[in-house]
């Protein structure tokens, strides 16, 4: 047995980096508020329709009734006399679903392209980056509108379109992280024990590149929700699925006479995006050791 290290080191509790990140996240009031906000919205969207079983497409009262005038529709009715509250509760499902799906598509394409480009560099990088730039220079809203019109205005198509127009930014971020990490010594060390490229990319580099990508994915959810609202507003969403964007879109002509038809779903979108952004900021602090100590 050789001489042991002379430095006396008490064994610290083994803390996984994720556990450490959660500890920092927990200490941020804004981040916790965001988490609370989003949790409430998600829970209401999931279970609200069970407790408040009103069909959001059913005409329940006189059109454009203001909030708090009738007990039948406590938050008023829209231009067709449909219950606003029911719409708000059910509409969150589609909005959140589209937001999360689009963010997932964004992150998957983005990581795939960015990882390969940033790891292999050379011609792989050239080809992938030119493709990325091609997608990046297209005006996103216009391109998404074209895609939705080309196929059908259904939720999967909307989510896919948003994903397709927003992945380039993630790809560039992933590429930059991969380029930075591939030159670090633990990657060389991985190579020196005979690890394959695939292993180095997905098991060695990706876990270390994940932090900024998670932050970006979270923020992408917010962007995607806004995007979905924008498309719905323009009438490019599934008219048979209630969503906040659809409510704003169908109520936009009446905004001067009936503020609530646009303001209420708008406020829901605002609160959701706020929650997502606060969580994103909190994650950013949690993953970034330089911001941690503040």
């Amino acid at each position: 047995m050789t001489v042991l290290d002379t430095k006396d080191e008490s064994l610290p509790r083994a803390e996984h980096p994720a556990a450490e990140a959660w500890r920092v996240f927990r200490s941020r009031p804004a981040a916790l508020f965001g988490l609370l906000l989003l949790s409430i919205i998600v829970i209401v969207s999931l279970f609200g329709p069970v407790l408040y079983a009103v069909d959001p497409f059913e005409i329940v009262w006189a059109p454009l009734t203001p909030p708090f005038e009738t007990e039948t529709a406590i938050l008023g009715t829209d231009n067709l006399g449909r219950d606003m509250l029911a719409g708000l509760i059910v509409g969150g499902r589609a909005t959140l679903l589209v937001g999360v799906t689009a963010a997932l598509i964004t992150i998957i394409i983005g990581i795939l392209v960015g990882a390969l480009a940033g790891y292999y560099l050379g011609w792989v990088d050239d080809v992938l980056m030119r493709i990325t730039e091609f997608f990046q220079v297209l005006p996103p809203l216009l391109f998404a509108m074209v895609l939705v019109t080309l196929f059908s205005p259904s939720l999967p198509v909307v989510a896919m379109s948003i994903g397709i127009v927003s992945w380039p930014a993630t790809a560039r971020l992933a590429r930059a992280e991969f380029m930075r990490i591939r030159g670090l010594e633990y990657v060389s060390a991985g190579r020196s024990i005979g690890a394959r490229d695939g292993r180095l990319i997905w098991r060695v580099i990706l876990p270390n590149a994940l932090a900024p990508l998670i932050v970006s994915a979270t923020l992408t959810i917010g962007v995607a929700i806004l995007f979905e609202a924008g498309l719905s507003f323009l009438g490019l969403s599934d008219p048979n699925t209630m969503s906040w964007g659809l409510m704003i879109g169908s109520g936009r002509q009446y905004v001067l006479d009936a503020w609530w038809v646009v303001t209420l779903p708008g406020a829901m979108i605002f609160l959701t995006v706020l929650g997502v952004s606060l969580i994103g900021d909190g994650l950013n602090d949690a993953f970034n050791p330089k911001l941690r100590e503040r």
Binding site: T2, D5, A14, A189, S192, I193, A195, P207
Partner: protein, 330 residues
């Protein structure tokens, strides 16, 4: 028996200022259970020699232009990517300069050692983990079962270098390449790591290529030593030969640069010597000896023709015109 034989390898790097010959006909031999020291200044090709042996010369811009590397008689240069990967970690292990950054921060050290095992052996998760703990114990880490579950940032530099050694040796390689394994560590820990390397070399019979600029380490550990300058080996022999009877003016200079403990009062101490000038740029090497511009014994021939390694009867070889002339005159 020769385990590793580096035979006349040439490595070129394409740079903006032209071709740089990073390794110029380098020959090395490492015998079973032997420690070969490679010494030289930064940029002399020590690390590039290590990367060439590992088949990890960054390409582009690097390129192994000619030569062979034999591991137990098998030429590694022509091997496919997959065949070479099988050898890395399994038959040749490597430890790096910076133990602080050569471990993956998101996995526990036990997982990283186990990974090395599982890459080359058909071991179960459990068996690999047990081997990891066993390796940690072998490299002198206390409470190995607990430490195996630590993340790299929870360990000191010396501990991390021990872990690196454990990873490199987990598959019982024939050769271990240690690229300045103690540069980033403080002196006490350096000595511990050297002791550990020596002990492992004795108990496992692993041949070690020790790359360093620390003459003291070479004197303590190595059996034989090769001195490199500007991509060439300028002198090689046993440690006794090279350190006590250096032939090459560069080796003399390197040894004179090392401060030693002097009991004399300050006014009687000799000033520390230095080698004048700087290492030449590899893209601007002329036909002559690369060391000639800095050499205090340079002859007219030195700037005209490149000296080749001339071996004396006892195996001590030097590439220097001045030395050759001197030896002929005796």
């Amino acid at each position: 028996m020769t385990v590793l034989k580096v035979d006349n390898i040439v490595v070129d790097f394409a740079t903006r200022r032209g071709n740089a010959r990073v390794l110029d006909h380098v020959n090395l031999e490492v015998n079973e259970g032997e420690i070969l020291g490679i010494v030289g200044e930064s940029g002399c090709g020590k690390s590039m020699t290590a990367l060439s042996i590992m088949g990890l010369v960054p390409s582009p811009p690097g390129n192994l232009t000619s030569g062979s590397i034999y591991l137990e008689g098998r030429d590694l240069v022509g091997l496919s990517k997959d065949e070479m990967r099988e050898i890395r970690g399994n038959e040749i292990g490597m430890i790096f300069q910076e133990p602080m950054s050569s471990l993956n921060p998101v996995f526990t050290v036990g997982e990283q050692i186990a990974e090395s095992v599982r890459l080359h052996e058909n071991a179960s998760q459990r068996a690999a983990w047990e081997r990891a703990v066993e390796m940690l114990r072998a490299v002198g880490i206390p409470e190995a079962e607990v430490r195996a579950k630590s993340y790299p940032h929870q360990l000191s530099g010396g501990m991390r270098q021990r872990v690196m050694i454990a990873i490199a040796l987990a598959c019982n390689p024939r050769v271990l390449i240690a690229d300045e394994p103690t540069t980033a560590l403080d002196t006490t820990v350096q000595a511990q790591i050297f002791d550990l390397l020596e002990e492992l070399q004795k108990s496992r019979g692993t041949a070690i290529v020790l790359i360093t600029h620390d003459m003291g380490a070479v004197a303590q550990l190595a059996d034989r030593v090769a001195v490199m300058y500007a991509g060439r080996i300028v002198e090689t022999g046993t440690v006794e030969q090279v350190l006590t009877m250096p032939r090459h003016p560069y080796t003399e200079g390197l040894i004179a640069c090392v401060p030693h403990l002097q009991p004399d009062p300050p006014e009687k101490r000799e000033p520390l010597l230095e080698i004048p000038g700087v290492v030449p740029s590899l893209t601007e090497l002329g036909d002559g000896c690369a060391f000639a511009p800095r050499c205090n014994r340079a002859l007219a021939t030195c700037t005209g023709r490149q000296p080749v390694l001339k071996t004396e009867g006892n195996g001590h070889a030097t590439a220097c015109w001045a030395v050759e002339a001197e030896l002929e005159n005796v």
